[in-house]
């Protein structure tokens, strides 16, 4: 039995450093190649030695697919391709290809230049790595090689996020990456067709959450920001430069406009301008409303939002600042946080998920005293708010996607084990399909049962169709008989006659003749006619002919009558049939031996 193996190297019962190996139909595919935000040591990257102990990965992988530009999905890519060694194709969508190197460079700068780490990938490595990238278009079927094909679907989540359908022969796997089933202010909802994969590998970040409507969350968010501004506080919103940031900017921009607010909104880092530009150029990846109106008014040109300078943080009076990165683990957002943490008038709003080990995670869990580098502690007095704006599917969304794709098996990654367990139960109960949730380094094996594609000769198929009439009758299945010729790699199903011809074989006729003695006081022709009438009444649905040359034919079985010389009442029936009519022939000879019923005329 063919089987599909799925092994997470990261994101197995965990969030962060997504990296999943799939072997399907003899092909090995790596899905995502991310880093873990919560670690600064070896655990930061997936353990590629699982694939091979010695050296390069090129021989062991057919392709690498990156679902979107978040670092927990692509952060380990230059390390994998340039430092471990991989020269095969890396697939990602155009926006991902555009944005990913910028985030990688940013990440590298923070790690090497600020933290002084060595033995890390260089700018040149990022460039070399990106040269191996093959861009993917939505719905385009890319033939990786003769057997392996991949197809990308829209996933929402962030600009350019994609789900991928991987197919080898009649086996297939869908990997969702991160996705979002409800459209938001700038992106559309994920969509996939009814592709019925053998396995659906889904993220499960919000496996147990069913979120209230987006409108309520937005209103809440605006209310909190507004209140804080009113009392003269400063609001810090740690975000990643691309993604949620744009959604929240659109939200605040329209709110400021409507309420005629004057407090400044800043966006940190030089990325802003650039980031918004990406959104303008990749407008086809945003939601329908933005796409429709972009000629008249481009939603990504903000009037109220200005670039941030480090010195502004000490300015008096209220302000709102978007600062990167989103989990408060380094960089500008952390600096501003340290400055503002002491004042209870201020507020920090965490709009997304925070990985364990980050400061974001700690303050969300209510920690009020933080240990900083150099043994200093930081008292957190400002208000900490959490608003789930990160665009992951919630439990409802995951179920909705299962309904869309109709997978035969389900596999959960990118979530916490306890929550996964709960969702697994729900899925198994609702859809009665198996659900797997392998831990990192653990392999889930799913046996598939593919049907075998065969080329049938059209004449055989048409003969079959003609036999059964135009409409198939479910109560009376039609049976088809043919010969399957297996030659090299081709499978052909043809009629037996054609098979003989094609293989250059002679037919061997096997015939049977059987004499049956019968007492019947009639003339020979009468007896024959009596047999004809008898068979007519017994054999319904068979062609029975009384031929003028003194024979009765049942299908292709010949029956003749002669009387013996001594006794004209003792008849001898001669039955002759070929092997192909064996069942009927055998039946007839037994039937006629019993004699003819008397009531026949």
């Amino acid at each position: 039995m063919p089987e599909i193996n799925v092994t997470p190297l990261g994101a197995g019962q965990d969030v962060g450093r997504s990296c999943i190996l799939v072997s399907i139909g003899g092909k090995n595919i790596m899905l995502d190649c991310g880093m873990h935000m919560g670690y600064n040591d070896d655990r930061r990257f997936p353990d590629f030695s699982y694939i091979t102990q010695n050296g390069r990965l090129t021989d062991f992988l057919d392709c690498v697919i990156i679902s979107h530009f978040h670092l927990d999905h692509c952060g380990a890519l230059p390390y994998m391709s340039e430092m471990v060694g991989y020269d095969g194709p890396i697939y990602m969508t155009h926006p991902t290809k555009a944005i990913c190197p910028i985030l990688l460079e940013d990440f590298r700068k923070i790690t090497v230049d600020k933290k002084g780490e060595t033995n890390f990938f260089t700018s040149q490595m990022i460039k070399d790595c990106m040269k191996k990238v093959v861009p993917l278009n939505l719905h385009q079927t890319v033939q990786v090689d003769d057997e392996l094909e991949i197809k990308a679907y829209y996933a929402g989540h962030v600009l350019g996020a994609a789900m991928v359908h991987i197919k080898v022969g009649s086996e297939s796997v869908v990997y969702t990456g991160d996705y979002n089933m409800t459209p938001d202010r700038h992106l559309g909802a994920a969509w996939i067709d009814k592709c019925r994969p053998d396995i659906l590998i889904s993220e499960s970040t919000y496996a147990t959450t069913i979120r209230d409507s987006k409108r309520c969350r937005e209103r809440d968010f605006l209310k909190k920001v507004h209140e804080s501004i009113e009392r003269g506080g400063k609001v810090l919103i740690p975000v990643f430069a691309l993604g949620r940031a744009q959604e929240l900017c659109i939200l605040l921009e329209t709110f400021w406009e409507r309420m005629n607010l004057k407090a400044p909104i800043y966006f940190s880092t030089g990325l802003t301008e650039k980031a918004n530009h990406y959104y303008k150029l990749f407008i086809t990846w945003t939601n329908q409303k933005i796409r429709k109106t972009f000629v008249q008014r481009n939603m990504f040109e903000f009037k109220h939002i200005k670039a941030f300078d480090r010195s502004y943080a000490d300015n008096p009076g209220p302000m709102v600042v978007f600062a990167t990165p989103g989990m408060l683990h380094a960089g500008q957002s952390l600096q501003i946080f340290k400055k503002w943490a002491g004042n209870e008038k201020n507020m920090v709003i965490m709009p997304g998920y925070c990985v364990q080990g980050t400061i974001g995670h700690k303050i969300l869990n209510g920690q009020r005293k933080l240990e900083m580098e150099g043994r200093a502690t930081l008292d957190v007095k400002l208000q900490v708010e959490y608003m789930s704006f990160s665009a992951h599917a919630d439990a409802k969304g995951i179920m909705q996607l299962i309904r869309m794709a109709e997978p035969r098996n389900m596999l959960l990654v990118h979530g916490e084990a306890v929550k996964m367990e709960f969702l697994k139960g729900k899925i198994e109960q609702e859809f009665s399909i198996d659900c797997y949730m392998p831990a990192n380094g653990e392999t889930a094996t799913i046996t598939t049962n593919p049907s075998v594609p065969v080329d049938i000769s059209l004449s055989l198929l048409k003969r079959e169709m003609a036999l059964g009439g135009s409409l198939p009758d479910p109560k009376k299945p039609r049976t088809m008989h043919g010969t399957l010729i297996m030659k090299e790699n081709s499978l052909k199903l043809v009629s037996s006659e054609q098979a003989l011809k094609e293989l250059g074989l002679n037919e061997h006729q096997l015939r049977f003749t059987c004499r049956v003695q019968l007492q019947d006081p009639h003339s020979d022709p009468d007896t024959l006619h009596r047999i004809y009438t008898h068979l007519k009444s017994v054999l319904k649905g068979y062609t029975i002919q009384h031929l003028p040359d003194g024979t009765v034919m049942v299908e292709s079985i010949v029956i003749k009558v002669s009387s013996s010389a001594e006794d004209s009442n003792a008849k001898v029936l001669l039955l002759s049939w070929s092997y192909q009519d064996e069942d009927l022939g055998s039946f007839l000879s037994t039937l006629l031996k019993k004699g003819l019923p008397s009531g026949l005329c």
């Binding site: 555009a98 079927t141 594609p453 006659e497 015939r511």
Partner: protein, 637 residues
């Protein structure tokens, strides 16, 4: 498999392919050359035009190259190859009972919408108080002057569609990406391929598991802005339908571009204005890019460039957002991120200005000498009519034709006498005959179908045998209204054997490397997909009194036995008989083989090379034993 050819215009094709059970329309180009029979529609009342003798100033009417060759409501899908080839879409999808789907790429849809919107806008802003139709009557038409008298099928000319019809037609479009495989009713798979001609332009592959038709329409191998043409996917076609070759086989696009620039510069330097009648999308992007590089060197830095069209802004904006559909160079710019086309910079630096029409802002900001890009290239409607009236009288000005769709002499006819200079530099980037024969050599289709115009040299250059297709076997030509039977023999179809049945098959090796297995299966056909399942076992007969009667029932399902092959060797057969206790066998040699007389059982077996005959009376157990013994030596097929 049949091909119905509804258009005789080789670059504005409209064909219908019947393939397996599907009816597929390939493109629906709109031949608008008939508008040349009409007078221009001026934006401002022109006493000169309305006083021309013998002509009636009339609504722009458009020729629709359709015939009642087949019922348009039976069309399942329409495949669009580029935005120029979809202009007739509203005529087909509206009011014909069409219920199918239209497939096109996103740029094709968006830019196609702009072009339709533009035409509708051009027509609707100069409404006509009256419109005449009586002249279409054959009797009256006969008496009309000039070319109108000779126009064919004027009764098929139709009025321009409305915006509402455009929107309704375009709502039937389903978007596809390059190399996306789209299943049609499970019977046929279609897939668009990049054709390199314009943004989102595509060729189409229409295939089943065993047959492949390629539809090549409007392709280009030149490096302009669109993604390069995908040639390799066209390989192994049974039939290749070839349309949309260059209309200017003798004009080199690069040379024309150079001429365009130098004429433009010359006129401006002499203090004249330049008028470029053009479509709002396509070559204009390349012209602007070329000018962007040319402006500085030709010191045209201060000359204003105007692009006037109701969709000018949209066209310029849309061109910047289709990174996926652009050539590699332009894609790399988007990654930076920078706009892929330099006209963004021209707009930013105020060198290029765009206006929806000559009314409004344009009239106050307009400075001369200048360069104006505007439509429609036929010079019969749109803002271009106004500029012809304005600038036609001065020999300082120049009109430069770049679009190859209309004869420039015919286009200029109603404006004669004309003092302005006319320059004809048609830029047609589509394949020329040299490129196409190279391409065909590469992809090697079994058969080529093309418009008849391609099988002979152009009428005006009958000695140029290089301006036609020469192929072996010769291409199958079509003309308007022909119906071609495509040379196809479908012999195989794909079926799927379900795993349960597949496991139950017993293959036996007939020759080295060749195995056979007999298959008895139930065929399930659903959505044009066939699967083979195991024959369900008959329900077990209830062990009741009826049991005795089972034997009386004739076999319900006729299961024909497989054919047999091989021969029964005498010695080995005798040995086998012996093993089964049949010892008294008398062997008699005949002409074709042997006759075995089983004396104790009074049974005859006739063994021959290609047949075995068992004559056995009244002894069913013996007969079945003998049968099985014979079968041991034979192969079942």
């Amino acid at each position: 498999m049949k091909l119905y050819c509804l258009s005789g215009h080789p670059t504005l094709p409209c064909n219908v392919l019947k393939f397996k059970s599907t009816t597929i329309m390939l493109d629906c180009g709109l031949d608008t050359t008939s508008v040349l029979n009409f007078l221009p529609l001026p934006l401002v009342h022109s006493p000169r035009l309305s006083k021309l003798p013998g002509w009636v100033s009339k609504d722009g009417t458009i020729n629709l190259e359709k015939r009642e060759l087949l019922d348009l409501s039976t069309i399942d899908v329409i495949l669009i190859s580029n935005y120029h080839c979809m202009m007739a879409l509203p005529y087909i999808t509206e009011h014909t009972g069409f219920t199918g789907t239209v497939y096109a790429t996103e740029p094709t849809l968006q830019i196609g919408r702009l072009l339709m919107e533009e035409v509708v806008n051009f027509m609707e802003r100069v409404p006509k108080a009256q419109s005449a139709t009586c002249w279409k009557n054959k009797e009256i038409q006969r008496m009309l002057p000039g070319p109108l008298k000779d126009a064919v099928d004027v009764w098929t000319w139709k009025r321009c569609y409305s915006m509402q019809e455009v929107n309704s037609a375009l709502s039937k479009v389903q978007l596809v990406g390059y190399s996306q495989k789209v299943e049609l009713f499970g019977a046929v798979q279609v897939s668009p391929l990049s054709s390199g001609y314009s943004l989102g332009s595509s060729n189409w592959i229409i295939q089943s598991h065993h047959e492949k038709v390629s539809y090549v329409s409007g392709s280009s191998l030149l490096t302009t802005h669109p993604q390069p043409m995908d040639q390799s996917s066209l390989k192994n076609s049974d039939v290749l339908i070839l349309t949309g070759l260059t209309q200017m086989p003798t004009a080199n696009p690069d040379g024309m571009l150079g001429e365009f620039c130098s004429n433009l510069a010359m006129t401006i330097r002499a203090g004249g204005n330049v008028l470029v009648p053009c479509y709002s999308s396509g070559v204009i992007y390349d012209l602007l890019e070329c000018l962007y590089q040319f402006i500085e060197s030709a010191s045209l830095g201060t000359t204003p460039f105007y692009f006037i069209s109701p969709v000018a802004n949209s066209s310029l904006e849309f061109s910047q957002i289709f990174a996926e559909w652009l050539c590699h160079n332009k894609q790399t710019k988007v990654y930076l991120p920078e706009p892929p086309f330099p006209h963004a910079e021209l707009i930013q630096t105020n060198k290029l200005k765009h206006y929806p029409s000559i009314h409004g802002d344009f009239s106050s900001e307009f400075r001369q000498p200048c360069v104006v890009f505007t439509g429609h290239p036929s010079l019969r409607f749109g803002d271009v009519v106004h500029f012809m009236e304005l600038w036609g009288k001065s020999s300082l000005n120049t009109i430069i034709f770049t679009e190859p769709d209309f004869s420039y002499l015919d286009a200029l006819a109603p404006y004669q006498p004309l003092a302005m200079k006319c320059v004809y530099c048609p830029i047609d980037t589509r394949l020329n005959f040299h490129q196409v024969s190279k391409l065909l050599k590469e992809v090697q289709p079994l058969h080529v179908v093309c418009p008849e115009q391609y099988t002979q040299p152009p009428l005006t250059q009958s000695h140029r045998s290089d301006l036609m297709l020469e192929l072996q076997p010769p291409p199958m030509p079509y003309r308007r209204c022909s119906v071609l039977n495509l040379p196809f023999r479908r012999r195989y179809e794909r079926v799927y054997i379900l795993p349960e049945l597949a496991n139950s098959l017993v293959p036996s090796e007939i020759k080295p490397g060749v195995s056979v297995a007999t298959v008895s299966a139930v065929v399930h056909s659903k959505d044009n997909k066939h699967t083979l399942q195991s024959v369900p076992k008959p329900p077990p007969v209830a062990p009741s009194k009826k049991r005795k009667r089972v034997m009386d029932e004739p076999p319900v399902v006729m299961t024909p036995k497989p054919l047999l092959s091989g021969a029964v060797p005498l010695e080995a057969f005798l040995a086998t008989l012996q093993k089964h206790g049949i010892t008294e066998v008398k062997v008699e040699e005949t002409a074709d083989g042997h006759i075995l007389h089983l004396q104790a059982e009074d049974t005859l077996i006739q063994l021959e090379e290609d047949g075995t005959h068992i004559v056995c009376d009244n002894n069913e157990p013996l007969r079945t034993t003998l049968r099985d013994l014979v079968l041991r030596f034979l192969q079942k097929l």
